[in-house]
C-alpha cells in the first residue's frame, strides 16, 4: 500500500514536470538539493548552464560516496524567468520537497523575491552571480562578486594602466547597474574625477538600436582625455551594442569597454574579431591556466558531451559554493540549517584559479579579481589580477546610506546590517 502511494505521488510529481530525478530511493535515504534556475523565458540563456553544472557536481559527489553516507538527490524546478514564481518555487522546494539547500537565481530581483521566503523557512541558499551588494541575509551565501571584487578593481586598472580620465557608465535600467554605477560614481569622484568627466547612460532591457548611444560615446571620448566605457549592460543587449561598436569603428585602443556581465558564454554569440582588446572583469576566466581549471573544463565538456562548451564565472561560483556546503555539512554532521549556517563561516575551499576562497562572516567569499581582454577566439587574455584574494564589502563604503554598516553573522552580533555609528542592528535608520 505504501509502495503504491509513493509511486502514485512520484508519478504525479513527474507529470507536473516538477522534478527530473527518479524516485527509486526512499526520501530518508537521500539528501535533497534544490536547483532553482530558470529553464525557460528570458533568463534561460544564462541559468540553464548553472542547472547543468549543479547536476554535474551532484553526480560527482555521489560517485565519491555521497554526503554523510547518503546519496544526494537534485530537485530541479523551473521558475520560468518569472520573479514571483521564484518565491513560490522556493517555498515548494523547502516545504514539499524538504531540500537541505537551494542553489538559486541569477538576477537580483529573483534573489530579492526568494529572500523573505528562505528567511521565513530558514533554508541555506547559495547565490552565484556578481551583484550590487548592499545586502546580507542570514540564509543567503553570496558566492558571486560584490562591487569591490569586480567593478572597483576594473576601474582602478583602467585609471592606472590605460590612463583613463573620462568615464562613460553605461547600463541597463535596473537595480544592479543603477546601484553599481552609484557606487562607481561616488568612488570616481572620491578619486578626483570631475562630474563633467562622467557620463551616465541607461537603456531598456533588450535595447537593440545602439546607433545614437555609440555616436554619443564617440563624441564624449573626443575631449582630448583618454575615455573608457564601464558597461553594466545586461546579457541580451550586449550583442547589438558590440556589433555597433565594431561597425562604427570604435576600437579598444581608442575607447576600451570594460564589461561586468559579458563572459565566455555571451561572447559565444558574437563575431569577436572587431572586439579584440575590449575588457571584462571577473573572478574566473576559462583561459586561466591551472591544473584545477583544466580538469574542470574537461569534466564539463565530457559531461555536456559538447567539446565547444565554454565555462564562465558564475559556474565557478557554484563549484565553490557547492564544495563549501559539502564541507560545512560534513563539519556539522547534519543538514540542519542552523548548524550548517554556523559551520559555513570560515570554510575554505580551493577555487579553480589556483587559490583558495573562504566564507567570511558577512556570508560573502574572498575572491581574486582578474581583468581579461577579449581575444579573437572569444576567450579572454588575462592582463591583470589582484595579488591576493579580495574580501567583499557587502555594504559599500562609498555610499552615504551604507558606509557605516557591517554584516557579521557570528554568534554575539548575528546581524546583517550592524550600524557601527549607532551601535545598533537595523541599518542606516536613526
Amino acid at each position: 500500500m505504501t509502495f503504491r502511494v509513493t509511486s502514485f505521488l512520484a508519478g504525479a510529481a513527474v507529470a507536473a514536470g516538477v522534478t527530473l530525478a527518479s524516485f527509486a530511493a526512499q526520501a530518508q535515504d537521500t539528501i535533497k538539493v534544490g536547483v532553482l534556475h530558470s529553464l525557460s523565458g528570458t533568463m534561460a540563456i544564462s541559468e540553464t548552464t548553472l542547472k547543468d553544472v549543479m547536476l554535474m557536481l551532484i553526480e560527482d559527489q555521489n560517485k565519491k560516496g555521497g554526503l554523510l553516507g547518503k546519496k544526494l538527490e537534485p530537485v530541479v524546478v523551473d521558475p520560468a524567468s518569472n520573479w514571483p514564481l521564484f518565491a513560490e518555487k522556493a517555498r515548494e522546494l523547502v516545504q514539499k520537497d524538504k531540500v537541505a539547500a537551494i542553489f538559486c537565481c541569477w538576477t537580483s530581483v529573483s534573489r530579492k523575491s526568494v529572500l523573505p521566503v528562505v528567511e521565513e523557512l530558514n533554508t541555506v541558499v547559495f547565490y552565484p552571480v556578481q551583484y550590487e551588494g548592499e545586502e546580507s541575509s542570514k540564509n543567503i551565501f553570496y558566492t558571486g562578486a560584490a562591487p569591490n571584487q569586480q567593478a572597483i578593481p576594473a576601474v582602478d586598472y583602467l585609471a592606472e594602466n590605460e590612463g583613463v580620465k573620462r568615464w562613460v557608465l553605461a547600463g541597463t535600467d535596473y537595480v544592479y547597474p543603477r546601484t553599481t554605477n552609484k557606487i562607481l560614481e561616488a568612488y570616481l569622484k572620491s578619486k578626483g574625477v570631475k562630474p563633467e568627466d562622467i557620463m551616465i547612460n541607461y537603456t531598456p532591457f533588450g535595447h537593440s538600436d545602439w546607433q545614437t548611444i555609440v555616436a554619443d560615446i564617440k563624441k564624449f571620448g573626443s575631449a582630448g582625455k583618454k575615455t573608457a566605457v564601464v558597461s553594466t549592460i545586461n546579457g541580451d543587449a550586449n550583442v547589438p551594442f558590440y556589433k555597433e561598436l565594431g561597425n562604427q569603428g570604435v576600437k579598444a585602443t581608442d575607447i576600451p569597454v570594460v564589461a561586468f556581465s559579458v563572459g565566455e558564454e555571451e561572447l559565444a554569440g558574437i563575431d569577436t574579431k572587431p572586439l579584440v582588446g575590449h575588457l571584462a572583469a571577473w573572478n574566473y576566466f576559462q583561459s586561466i591556466d591551472t591544473p584545477e581549471n583544466k580538469a574542470f573544463i574537461e569534466k564539463w565538456k565530457a559531461y555536456t558531451k559538447n567539446p565547444k562548451r565554454v565555462t564562465n564565472d558564475p559556474m565557478e561560483a557554484h563549484v565553490i559554493g557547492f564544495q563549501m556546503w559539502v564541507k560545512a555539512v560534513e563539519k556539522a554532521g547534519t543538514t540542519d540549517p542552523n548548524a550548517v549556517i554556523d559551520a559555513l563561516i570560515g570554510v575554505t575551499v580551493p577555487n579553480l584559479t589556483g587559490g583558495y576562497s573562504a566564507m567570511m562572516p558577512n556570508h560573502h567569499i574572498t575572491k581574486p579579481v582578474f581583468i581579461g581582454e577579449v581575444k579573437a577566439d572569444g576567450q579572454f587574455n588575462v592582463v591583470w589580477n589582484t595579488p591576493a584574494p579580495v574580501v567583499a564589502n557587502e555594504w559599500s563604503p562609498y555610499l552615504e546610506g551604507s558606509k557605516d554598516l557591517i554584516a557579521d553573522w557570528r554568534a554575539p552580533l548575528s546581524c546583517g546590517n550592524f550600524n557601527v555609528k549607532t551601535g545598533k542592528c537595523g541599518g542606516a535608520g536613526k
Binding site: 534561460a44 537593440s208 545614437t212 565594431g246 563575431d271 582588446g277
Partner: protein, 542 residues
Amino acid sequence: MRDPAPRRLRRAAALLAALVALLLVPLLAGPARAQDAGAALARMATEQFAQIEAGIADLTASGSPLALPALEALADGRLYYSPDKSVFIKQADGRWIDARTGAASAADPASPKPVRLNNRVRRALEAALGSLSLMNPDPAKRLAAAEAVVKSRDAAALPAVEAALAKETDPRIRKALSQAKAATTIFLDTATESEKVAAIETVAGRGDQDALNLLGAVRERGTPILKLAAETASAGIERRLALLNGLQNVWYGLSLGSVLLLAAIGLAITFGVMGVINMAHGEMVMLGAYTTFLVQEFLRTRYPALFDLSLPIAIPLAFLVAGAVGVALERGVIRFLYGRPLETLLATWGVSLILQQTVRTLFGANNREVGAPSYMAGSFDFFGLTVTHGRLWIVVFAMAVFACLLFVLKATSFGLKMRAVTQNRRMASCMGIRTPWLDAMTFGLGSGIAGIAGVALSQIDNVSPNLGQSYIVDSFMVVVFGGVGNLWGTLVAALTLGIANKFLEPVAGAVLGKIALLVFIILFIQKRPRGLFAQKGRAVEA
C-alpha cells in the same frame, strides 16, 4: 611674423638630411642594426607588457628590415617566444621563421608561447606599424599608415613622415601625410609656436572627430596662444559637427524606422488586412533569423567560399519556412476563431510560447552566431557622417520589401482577390473566390514577410529564442499608429516613429524617449482611433 623663405629653406634642409640619413642607414650599419633588432626582439620574449612595449619602440628605432615582418606578425598574434629568449614568427603554413635572422628556423622552437598584447602594447604597435608602412607600395596601406600617425601623434615617426611626404605623389595620401606631420608637430617640444599654430590649422582642415580629439588635447595643456588657436579651430569644427548631428539623427531614425517597418509590414497584412491579432508574429521573425543561422552553418561547413551569398540564399528560404508555419497556424488554429479576437489573441500567444520553447529545445537557449557577410560589415564616411554598411543595406532592403508587397497587392490577381475578400467576403465568395484558401495564403504571405524581416534582424540583433518578443509590441504600435489596413500608413508610421525616437533619445535618454513616444501614441489614438491614414467608406463599417 617671420619671413617664410628661410623657414622653407630650413625645412628643405632638414628634409634632405632626413632623406640622406634614411638612405644611408642600411648601408652604414647593417650588422649593428641587426644586433639592435635582435636585442629588441629578445626584450619582447617576456610576460611583462611594459617590456614588450619597450621592445617595440627599440625595434622600430633600430630601422632594421627585420622590424616590419616581426611587428606585423605580432599584430596578427603569430609572434612566439621560447624560454631561451629566442623569438619566432609562425607562418600560415605552420613553419617557423627565426625573427632575429629572417631565415627559416632550423628546428621547431621548444615550448613556444605567443607574445601577449594588451591595449597599451597594441597602441604602441599600431603607431610603430604606421611609421614603418609609410613607404609601402600599396597606396591603401600608406593612407592607413598616415592615419595611424595622426592618431598616435608619435614624435618618433616625424622623420619617416617627412621622408614619405617628399616622395608621395597621390594627393589624398599627401594630405593625410601633411596632417600627420602637423599632428606630431603640435606636440613637439622643439617646434616653434608659429609652426604649431600653422599645424593646428592644418589639423583643423580635417574637420572631423579625430581633429577635435587632437585640438582637445592642445586645449588641455598648450600655451595660451595655442589654446586660443585650438579653441577657434575647434569652434569651427564643432559648428560643422552640430549640423552633421541633425543629419545623423535623421539617418539613424531612417535606419531604426526601416527596422520597425520590416518587423511591422508582415503584421500590416495579417492584422491590418485580415484583422487577426497574431501574437506569434514575432516568432515568425525569429524563425526567419534561425533559418539564416542554419543557412550560414551549412555554407560554413560545406561551401565556405559562398559565405557572402548566405543572406540572398536565406531570404527565400526564410520566406518559405515562416510562410509554411503561418499557413499551418491559420489552418490549424486561427480559422476556427475568426470573429473572436480575444480567443485569437490568447491562442496565438500560446502558439508563440510553444514556438519559443521548441526553438529553445532544438537550438539551446544561447545566442547563435550569425556572421555578417563582407558587404554588411564596417562603415564608410559620408561627409563626416559614419554610415554603417549593415544599416544602409537594411534601409534599402526594407524599401524593396515594401515595394514588392505593394506590387503584389495592387498589380497581381492574388492581390486583387485579397482586397476583394477583405472588402466584402460574401460577395467575393459569390464571385467564385475560394475565401478559405485565400485566407490561408494571405496569412502565409504576412508570416513569410516576417520571416524575411528575421533575415535582416539577424544582422543587428541577437539570434535567440527571445528575438521575436522584443519586436511584437513595436510592430503593433506601428500598425495601429499608421492606420489599420493601410500599407502606406505603416511606412509613414514606421519612419515617423523611428526619426522621432532618434531625436528624443539624445535629449531624454533611451528609456524616457521610449516612454514619451508611447504616451504620444496613446494620446494620438484617443484623438484619431483609426490611426494616421484611416480607411474610409462602407468597408470600414461592415
